[in-house]
């Protein structure tokens, strides 16, 4: 780490890390939203026997979502160290209780999503089981909720003190 800090300032390093965290979050958000839409909205069939495919290849997104989610959880856990000292303490001093409380809940939301990943992977294994269609849909939507909640709350916390914050 010290070698890196010979070339860039410490706060610049953490801001770059935070920006990568944000960029990966956007990718994860897109993937999990597409998959959720695919399971929530039925595919369309054109006239006759010509069956159209699902508008989004939902199954193919599964591995990407798992990899991005784990990567994001790890990056978030790393950045969380800096947040705990340099962001949360001023947040308490300035009495931003709603932001703080929402961020505390974010920790739990991310964790619950992380624990469901093995089951999520199992339900999306090929061949897809019709018996698991309901729970597959529920787990996917729950993961989408976890990602959306974390993204919004993380963004608000970033606005308090992060990339581009005053």
């Amino acid at each position: 780490m010290d070698i890196i800090f010979d070339y860039i300032r410490v706060d610049t390093f953490w801001k770059i890390l935070l920006f990568i965290h944000f960029a990966l979050a956007v990718a994860l958000l897109a993937a999990v939203t597409l998959q959720s839409v695919a399971v929530l909205m039925p595919a369309r069939q054109v006239a006759g026997n010509f069956v159209d495919r699902s508008p989004v290849p939902a199954v193919s997104l599964t591995t990407l979502i798992i990899v991005l989610y784990v990567l994001q959880a790890l990056m978030g856990a790393w950045i969380y160290i800096k947040y705990r000292i340099y962001v949360r303490i001023p947040m308490e001093q300035l009495r931003h209780w709603w932001t703080l409380g929402s961020f505390e809940e974010k920790e739990h939301v991310v964790t619950m999503g992380l624990f469901l990943l093995p089951a999520y992977w199992y339900f999306w294994r090929q061949p897809l089981s019709a018996a698991d269609a309901g729970i597959r849909k529920a787990v996917t939507v729950f993961l989408a909720f976890c990602v959306w909640y974390s993204f919004i709350v993380g963004h608000v916390a970033n606005d308090f003190r992060g990339v581009g914050a005053l």
Partner: protein, 201 residues
């Protein structure tokens, strides 16, 4: 002219075609993997909520001094703030991993009943403790000796055992995967409620 078709509607054809070809060993492996994944999801979510509420981290990380202490460490002001979140996650994941591995080795019916028992216990234990505390406040004599989590555990254990024993097999079988949603959502409600101090100031 267009009409809609549920994607899931096409799955049975795919499944049945593959299921005929699938050898018994593959089906059994798939079933074990499923048991592991589902048990892990339920157990980890439940245990994480319990460990967070009881504040049982496997370790405490002190970011200011970059040090890790085993279990719960109440740091002095110079070393504060302590971080317990990592410790709760690791402990919950490790405990759930053991439970999920055990689940793959025992009959499926036992796993499903044990899941009902665990979830019922998790709901009944705090309920029982709350009821005991109400009772202590209500009675005129000194009943403070009843104010114990271990005394509250007795009716909770009996209730959970009764529910898991008398629950119809079909219901236990049918609802098993549903716990995968019920437990994390309930956990988030409990954990969110515990954060109300931030939202009511």
């Amino acid at each position: 002219m267009t009409q809609t078709l549920d994607v899931a509607g096409r799955f049975p054809q795919l499944d049945s075609a593959r299921a005929i070809e699938a050898p018994a060993a593959e089906t059994q492996t798939r079933s074990k993997v499923g048991t592991f994944a589902i048990t892990f999801g339920i157990a980890a979510s439940l245990l994480y909520t319990v460990y967070e509420r009881l504040n049982w981290p496997l370790f405490t990380y002190l970011p200011r001094v970059n040090r890790v202490e085993f279990w719960l460490y109440r740091s002095p002001p110079a070393e504060s703030p302590p971080m317990y979140w990592y410790g709760w996650i690791v402990l919950a994941a490790a405990s759930a991993l053991v439970l999920a591995l055990i689940a793959t080795a025992v009959p499926a019916q036992w796993v499903r009943r044990a899941t009902v028992f665990g979830c019922a216990l998790a709901a009944l234990w705090p309920t029982s403790l709350g009821a005991l505390r109400l009772f202590i406040d209500w009675v005129s004599f000194n009943a403070d000796y009843l104010n114990s989590v271990w005394i509250a555990a007795i009716p909770a254990l009996v209730g959970a055992a009764a529910i898991s024993y008398f629950a119809p097999s079909q219901w236990v079988q049918r609802t098993w995967t549903n716990w995968l949603m019920i437990v994390p959502i309930s956990g988030l409600i409990v954990l969110g409620y515990s954060l109300q101090q931030y939202f009511v100031r």
